[in-house]
């Protein structure tokens, strides 16, 4: 299920504005890759280009290639809708569908995929996904209640359950804990550690301790100045990045000298 992602010479634009320049990296399957860097350096933009969510923004486009197990996502004839069904995403702020129950939120993506499923099969998907997101015990007695009635941390885990219900190959997380308290953050981090058994995970985070705790590989993004494009400064094993980074800027950022 988990797949390897090869990014090659990727330039990301908003209209004429080059937001992220010349990214090449390899994201290993069944691992957690963290992307760190100061605000506005293009981490989230890059993350969104991995499942073609970038082009949802008017004027958003890319050059270069993003290949998942050899298949370029940006090939002519590749439907972005199919890409997004295979590469799930969890957003910065919890965003369950406010008009849907917990149950319907979890199966929202499954229902989209068009496969007709029996009620019992759907029930299985809901239980498995909520178990997977460590939320089952908290909500199993109120699956028909609105998802918006949960706490922030629970809502975020509901969003993760919704994303893994469709069994994606890759899970992208855009600062999934930035709107959560420390306890909920811990729950999500535990969850990430479990999920990496099955999924390729890419996580953008502002919290460097978090990157150090959850990830196997870390990429450091930086920006030369306002209006300049963001770049990947270096990428390596998380242990190496946080102990002996090969670039001075990375060391400065990690040790808190800027950013």
């Amino acid at each position: 299920m988990a797949k390897r992602i090869d990014v090659k010479d990727l330039n990301i634009y908003y209209g004429d504005f080059l937001a992220v320049e010349d990214i090449s990296m390899t994201i290993e399957p069944r691992s957690v890759t963290a992307l760190i860097g100061p605000s506005g350096c293009g981490k989230s933009t890059f993350l969104r280009s991995l499942n073609r969510m970038h082009e949802v923004v008017p004027g958003g486009r890319v050059e270069g290639s993003v290949a998942v197990d050899g298949q370029d996502l940006y090939d002519r004839g590749v439907d972005p809708v199919d890409v997004r069904r295979q590469i799930g995403m969890v957003f910065q702020r919890p965003n369950p569908f406010p008009t849907m129950s917990i149950y319907d939120n979890v199966v929202a993506g499954v229902r989209l995929s068009g496969t007709r499923m029996k009620r019992s099969e759907l029930d299985d998907v809901v239980e498995r996904s909520l178990q997977g997101a460590n939320l089952w015990n908290e909500v199993k007695d109120r699956l028909t209640k609105p998802g918006a009635g949960l706490s922030g941390g629970q809502q975020q885990r509901l969003c993760i359950a919704r994303a893994i219900a469709v069994e994606p190959q890759v899970l992208l997380m855009d600062e999934p804990c930035s709107a959560l308290d420390p306890i909920s953050t811990l729950a999500i981090e535990d969850l990430i550690a479990n999920l990496k058994q099955e999924y390729t995970i890419v996580i953008v985070t502002h919290n460097m301790q978090q990157a150090a705790r959850v990830s196997d590989f870390t990429g450091f993004f930086n920006i030369a100045g306002t209006g300049k494009p963001g770049k990947l400064i270096e990428m390596d094993d998380t242990a190496k990045i946080f102990s002996t980074p090969s670039v001075k800027a990375t060391e400065d950022y990690i040790s808190g000298r800027f950013g």
Partner: protein, 321 residues
Amino acid sequence: MSSPSTPTVTAPRKQAGRNGVQRPGDRLFSGAARGSGLLILVILAGVAIFLITEAWPAITAPADAIPGGEGLAAYVAPLVFGTVLAATIALVVATPLAIAIALFITHYAPKRMAQGLGYLVDLLAAVPSIIYGLWGFQVVAPASVPVARWLEENLGFIPLFAGPTSSTGRTMLVAGVVLAIMILPIISAVCREVFIQTPRLNQEAALALGATRWEMIRMTVLPFGRSGIISAAMLGLGRALGETMAVAIVLSVSGGITLNLIGSGNPSTIAANIALQFPESSGIAVNTLIASGLVLFVITLAVNMSARWIVKRANRSGDGR
């Protein structure tokens, strides 16, 4: 803080009552706001009292004194039926169209085109109703005749299209369609505002799950906008119920209650009937017309209140907010 002599500066908590310190500006503004709010109630009550007192002679009059000679209920019933029928046709035609227009403007059209289109739709609302009436009479009515013939031939088994087809085209169907065009701008403008408010996060959540644009709209935009759509439709319905000139010009009135939308015998609507009859009426006939106006007043009030109730219920069951 501007008056240094007051002791509130040193001990504001003891001084402040339940509502805190009252400053002149606050008091002035709250008074003005409250006065304006009350004014609405006074106007509404004034209209209701006028309608009831003026309608009273007709309500209490013997049946043969009422125009038509069969009493007030028999006089008003076809008018109520015509009013509701015309407004219903208008609503059924206009609402889906308005929703589609609003969705196109907010979610499909390129940005520049969307602005122009939205502006055009708003402009439709600025056209005076007499113009719509003339246009309906001169253009839509004649153009509708072949369509009505086709409906009669092919769908004649439905009572709505039973025929015989009117040769002038000044039918209930055309009146309803003209009304639909008139209420289209208000419905689509309100829907547009509501659809634009759909949280971007929810829309992105749907897209990230692999929803197509239409699926995204069905999952997020429409549920989010549901109560807004209902309010918009009710606003349009209110306007359609009360519309006078366009109906008075388009509709060829003769006869009573009939479901046949394409025939030449149509019931009039309350508002159009008042406009047409009022100049030539005197005595009890005037009271009768005002009584029909009272009925219209009650209908519109009922429509608005039920709309509020529906919106409230939809909000409560829909989401946890």
